[in-house]
Each structure stands twice: as C-alpha cells, then as structure tokens.
Amino acid sequence: MNKQSPECCGGGETKEQQLLAWIQAHREEKGLALPALQKAQELYGYLPVEAQRIVARALDKPLTEIYGIATFYSQFSLVPKGRNCISVCLGTACYVKGGGRIYELLQQKLGIAGGGCTEDGRFSLDACRCLGCCGMAPVIMINDDVYGNLTGDELDAILSKYE
C-alpha cells in the first residue's frame, strides 16, 4: 500500500485514494454526487474523465450522469486551469462601472480569449457573475485575492505578483 506514484501528494496517498477515502467517509449523506465532484475538483484542479469515472464507480452511477452534473455547473472545469485563475466580475454593478473594459484589457495583456489559459500555464481567464463586492466595482479576483476599484492602469502591477 506504500507505493509512491508521481500523482502522489500529501500523506503518501494518491489523489484517487484521497477521493475514494472522502467518498467512503461521507457515504451516509444524501445527494453525494455533487459534493464528490467538488472534492474531486479540489484535488485534481479540474475534472478529468478519470476523476469523473472514479466518482461514478464509487457511487454506482452511470458515467453519463456524472458527466451531466460536471457540465451543468459553471464551477466545474473539464480542462486544466492555469496556476493562477483570474475571474473578472461582470455582475451588474461592475458592468455599469466598466468591468467589461477590464475584461478586454486582460484578454489583450494575456493574449488569450475569455475562458482560455496562457501557453505557459501561468494564468487562466474567466468572466464570472457577481462576487458580491459591488461596493468596490469593478472587481477582479485572482485565486482568492480580490482587487477592486480598478481603472485598468494597475493591472500590470497586479499580474506581476503572480508566477
């Protein structure tokens, strides 16, 4: 059981083992498919088909049903994300205060379209719906950091903080 694989992270367990252990521990809960996929995404960073298959087998559900859930919710990604995920808020308050322009500027600066990932894997860029920080609109979020009251001039300095 001590076999070390390149997939390994923390405690000598593979992601698969960690995922299965989590599902086992929560087996009694109703409606486990969605939380299990959330756990899988947390472990893998996205939802590769292998991860979906693990969830499907463990919950004894068809893969199509799991895939159906994975593609329904915007939180899930079927493709790998960049090391740093940029979300540009396009909620109403940000939109009327120029969030769309910030989104465009970031696309230009990174040379990728919305939903894309830079070739070096440093950044991925998405628009999102209201982060609830309307008081500091327009707002972007990089990983868990939120930057508000943006004009566009500060973007280079902000991006340079992330490797």
Binding site: E29, K30, G31, L32, A33, L34, P35, L37, Q38, E65, G68, I69, F72, Y73, S74, Q75, F76, L90, G91, T92, A93, Y95, V96, K97, R101, E104, Q108, C128, R129, C130, L131, G132, C133, C134, G135, M136, A137, D144, D145, V146, G148, T151, G152
Partner: protein, 596 residues
C-alpha cells in the same frame, strides 16, 4: 467590560481589502499602548457602507473611520483610544464639502434606515454565539418551543404579513401552513436559499457573514412549525466567508444544545447541513435548488406538485430565503402586530437593498417597505457622483426591470414594483446615470439569462437566444422598426411558455426598458446612434485638432495602432482601424477626443 470597542468590519468587501490584517494591527498597537485591559478589538459583520471600506467603528461613541490603511492604525490608537481625540482625516464623511464630524447613527446613510434583518450585522461578532445570545439570540426558539404550539407559530408568521424576500414575495406564513399538515408522521425538510445569484445583490451574504445564528435559529423555528427534523442551507461556493461563519455557527449551536436532539428539553430535534452550490443561477429557483441538493443537475421541474407537498427527496419541504429567515426571530419575539406596523399596506416590514452602480454611497441599506426610490437614492445613497443625472434604477436583477427617473417618487413595495413592470427580486438596486445605455443594459441581462438558462425547456433555451440576437442587431446598427414588434411578440411567448421563473421573467429587462426608453431603441434603429455613447458599433471617435497638443499619450495607448500623428502636432484616428475601445479617451489630458 471594556472601555472601548474597536469594530473592524470583516464582511467580504472589507475583508478583501485587508481588514483582517488591520484588526491584527489594532491588537498589536493596543497592546503596545498598554490598553489591553480597556479596549477590545472585534471583527464584526458588514457595516453596509462597502464603498468606503475598510471600515472601522469605535464604540460606544460610534465613530466611524473609513478607507483605513494598515499604517493608519498606530495613529488611531494613539489619538482616539489613548487621548480620546478623533482622527478627522479618517472620519467617514459623506459630504466632503462640510467636513462635519458625525457618529455612525447620525449619518444620512444610517439615519433613514430601520434595521430588522440586519439588526445584528456589524454590531455583534459573528463568530461568537455568546454575543448573539446577548442580543436575544435563541430566545425566539425558546419561546416557540416552550410557550407556543406549532400552529401558533405558523399563525404568527401568517399574521405578520411577512412575504418572501427572495423574489416573488409569496406570503411566508402561507408557505409554512401548506407544509404543516400531518406533523410527526412524515419526513419533512426545511431549506434555506442562500444561492444569491442575482448580479448586484449581496444582502444574504452579509446576513450569513454578519449574523449566521439568526438563520440557524429561524430555520429551527420553521422546522418546529411544520414538523421537520432536518434542514439544509444551500449556499453559493463563491461566498467563502459566509460558509466559514455559518459552519462555525452550526458547530457552536450544536455544542450549546441548540441544534441536535431534544432542544430546550423538549422532544423537538433538528439537524442542519450546509450544501455548497456550484455556480448555476437557475438553482435559485426552488425546484431546481432542491434537485441540486439531491446532488443532481439543478434543473427545475413543473409545479404542481409544489414543494410543500413533494419537495426535497420527494418529501414536503419549505424553502425560505436568508433575508426572510432573518425576520422570523424578531416576529416571534415581538409579535405579528409589531412587524405589520412597519411597511406599506400589502408589504409589511423592511427590505434590504444592495445599493450599487452609479451612486455615491454603495452598500447595504434596510428601509421600511414603502420608502420612495428618491429617499434611497438621494438621501441614503448620497445621489449620483460626478454631477451626472439619475436615469434609472434597476431592481430584480435579470428577472426585473428598471424604474425611470419619472417614477422616482414611487413608494417601493412588492405590488408597486410589479405594477410598473419590474419586481422586488432579492433586492439588488443598481443606479444608472446618463452614461448608461438602456438597450445595452437589456442586452446585458439577456446575455446573463441565455448563459444561465438550464436548457430544459425550449421557450427559455431558444427563445432568449433569439431575443438576444434581435437586440444585438439593434446595437450593431442593423435593426429595423419591425424588430421592436418581433421583440414584444417573442417576449410574450417566452413569458407565457417557460417552465420556471427564470424563463418566465427573462424578458422583463427588455420589456421594461422598451416601455420606458423606447426612444432610445428608436434612436439606435433610425439614426444608428447610441445616445449614451455605449454601443460600440454605433460610435465614432474623433480628435479635435484645436485641443490636441500632440502629446502622443493616446497613440501609445491605442491597442490597434489606429492613432497617427507626429509629436506636438494634432493626431488623427484611422476609423477603419479603430476598434472603439475608448482607451484613448481615458489617456487624453486635454479633453480633445470625443465619442459620439
């Protein structure tokens, strides 16, 4: 007891601007000043004035400091806490010209407000169950369990006139009554809708962050009223602070015996679970939300059967929104008459609005139902910045519509808003000024619903897309007057044929802007002109050769290299190359570039 309390707002907006480190710095500086026995630092919930965060309030005097930076803390401790002198330069000042010094409750922002749902937000430490209990926390549950029958609880809520704060305004007591039959013989559920998906609305987030116990307590009261023993809070994963505070609060309530078996020594038992959403707007619809809690694709299904009959896991279920629940405990404690004395004839109590957009004071405001839009925008909100004119306010998010300037004196309640073609929604109130294009705003909301439509029914999935195409045609300068008729026809079809509330209300932003700003649509179609200067395809940028100094700032900023000219000579824009991004206007210091 302490002499002073420093309350550092730790709502998500302030939290993102380093309020946690500011609180730590206060602790360090207070210790250095030898005031540890006299001053306590609290991490409070949202104070509501998010636009001026990070906010720090000092009690008991209620002095409010805004835009506080880490390096300001030492000064605040030395001056205010040690010497008792207010630091004028950091005082929250809603009117820079007068520079008057005010305490929290005297500011125009707070003066007109009446806080029921937000009564504890920014006042107690949301991480402390003791502080919640000190403010009558869990007294409503105790009263309900030990001195009221379940039917009396239902009747009280019914008599209060409380209506659902999440959107449609269905009477909460009636919902409870429908689910209250056959108590004790069937499995029932109580759910809380904290999937606050309306862009521009964040009141539920603030309640969960600032006063999580009130949601837990109200859900327990609801469970007692209908005879349920299990509850679920369905909360957006995008609200990490809310999830953290709620998780902690549930643990505290469990260890205090306020959740679990035999609460207050009665035979009532209640367990509460958190379910995280995964980013689907449609899950704010009740049947879709329950399907999502079941771990499936969050698609809605037809009603009847209503959830009160057959809801979560096929059992009778009630679903209430966070703000609705935040009103329950005060109603139980103070009685139905107390609550129904507030508000207008058919809309009782107060409503929390998330004030945002082109307005001076952004943040959360709670006012009695029936307060006019003018009072909210001009008095509490401080008016429109930069001397611009108020054009419209949008309520109800993607399901709502706009209130034009001509109706600014309308008292805001459920029925008035419906009669003018919008709706209360969850309470997002986005203010727009003359620079906002109403066709563009309609498009913005429709893009939202197109993306968030779950795809289950055709009128919504295909209809909203076709509607958006018609709008795009107009903003691209290809529209015809017949398109307006087609929009109205299609909108009526989508409204009457969609399966759930998302589709049934999706055309509202279009219909509402068309009703009040038809001229603007016509201007786009007939004159190929966007009066607000927003719709890109209809814009032209030109440089005034008289005003241009040839500083080259615009040419350097232009991503399309469309601006030509030599230094110190007037520049010109190659309209064929121009992508109309507007970057040049922002860079020009001489006001030489115009957009029309």
């Amino acid at each position: 007891m302490y002499r002073s309390y420093v309350m550092v707002c730790s709502g998500q907006t302030c939290g993102n601007t380093l309020s946690d480190r500011i609180a730590e710095e206060f602790e360090v500086q207070i210790k250095l000043a030898g005031l540890r026995q006299e001053v306590q630092v609290l991490r409070g919930g949202c104070l509501g004035i998010c636009g001026s965060g990070p906010n720090v309030a000092v009690f008991p005097e209620g002095t409010l400091y805004s835009h506080v930076k880490l390096e300001d803390v030492a000064e605040l401790v030395a001056e205010h806490l040690l010497k008792g002198k207010k630091v004028n330069r950091l005082l929250y000042d809603e009117n820079e010209a007068t520079n008057t010094v005010r305490s929290l409750s005297e500011t125009a922002f707070y003066k007109k407000q009446m806080r029921v749902a937000l009564r504890n937000c920014g006042v107690i430490n949301p991480r402390s169950i003791e502080e919640y209990i000190a403010r009558d926390g869990y007294a409503a549950l105790e009263k309900a369990l030990t001195r009221m029958t379940p039917d009396e609880v239902v009747e009280t809520v019914l008599a209060s006139g409380l209506r659902g704060r999440g959107g449609a305004g269905f009477p909460t007591g009636l919902k409870w009554k429908f689910a209250s039959g056959n108590r004790g013989n069937v499995q029932k559920y109580v759910c809380c809708n904290a999937d606050e998906g309306d862009p521009g609305a964040f009141m539920d987030r603030s309640v969960l962050e600032g006063d999580p116990h009130t949601v837990i307590e109200a859900m327990a009261v609801a469970a007692y009223a209908i005879g349920a023993d299990t509850g679920y809070v369905y909360v957006r994963a995008e609200y990490p602070v809310a999830v953290k505070h709620l998780t902690l609060a549930i643990e505290q309530a469990k260890s205090a015996g306020l959740l679990g078996k035999n609460i207050f020594g009665t035979d009532f038992s209640f367990n509460l679970h958190i379910k995280l959403g995964a980013g689907a707007f449609v899950c704010g619809e009740e049947t879709a939300l329950m399907t999502s809690i079941e771990g499936k694709r969050g698609e809605p299904h037809p009603r009847p059967p209503f959830p009160a009959v057959k809801g979560l896991f096929e059992s009778p279920t009630i679903l209430n929104n966070v703000e609705t629940l935040a009103n329950i405990c005060p109603i139980i404690l103070n009685g139905a008459e107390w609550f129904s004395a507030m508000g207008s004839e058919k809309s009782k109590g107060t409503k929390v609005f998330a004030l945002g957009g082109k307005i001076k004071n952004t943040g959360l405001v709670e006012v009695p139902m029936g307060t006019t839009l003018r009072e909210i925008v001009e008095e509490i909100g401080g008016g429109i910045p930069n001397g611009k004119a108020f054009k419209a306010a949008q309520t109800g998010g993607p399901s709502g519509g706009c209130i034009p300037a001509s109706l600014i004196d309308i008292p805001i309640d459920y029925d008035n808003l419906l009669s003018i073609g919008t709706m209360m929604g969850s309470g997002g109130l986005i203010v727009m000024d003359e620079d906002t294009c109403m066709v563009d705003i309609a498009k913005f909301f429709l893009e939202f619903t197109v993306e968030e439509s779950c795809g289950k029914c055709t009128p919504c999935r295909v209809g909203t897309k076709r509607l958006l195409e018609l709008l795009n045609k107009i903003t691209d300068g290809r529209g015809t007057m017949e398109d307006l008729d087609r929009i109205e026809e299609l909108a009526a079809f989508i409204k009457s044929n969609s399966l759930c509330g998302l589709g049934q209300t999706a055309p509202n932003p279009v219909l509402s802007t068309l009703r009040y700003f038809r001229d603007e649509y016509v201007e786009h179609i007939v004159h190929r002109h966007c009066p607000a200067g927003v719709c890109r395809e209809l814009l032209q940028y030109t440089i005034d050769p008289v005003k241009c100094h040839g500083c080259t700032a615009c040419a350097r900023a232009c991503p399309a290299h469309a601006i030509v000219g030599s230094p110190k000579n007037p520049h010109t824009i190659d309209t064929a190359k121009c992508i109309k991004c507007g970057g040049c206007i922002e860079k020009c210091r001489f006001d030489a570039i115009s957009r029309h």
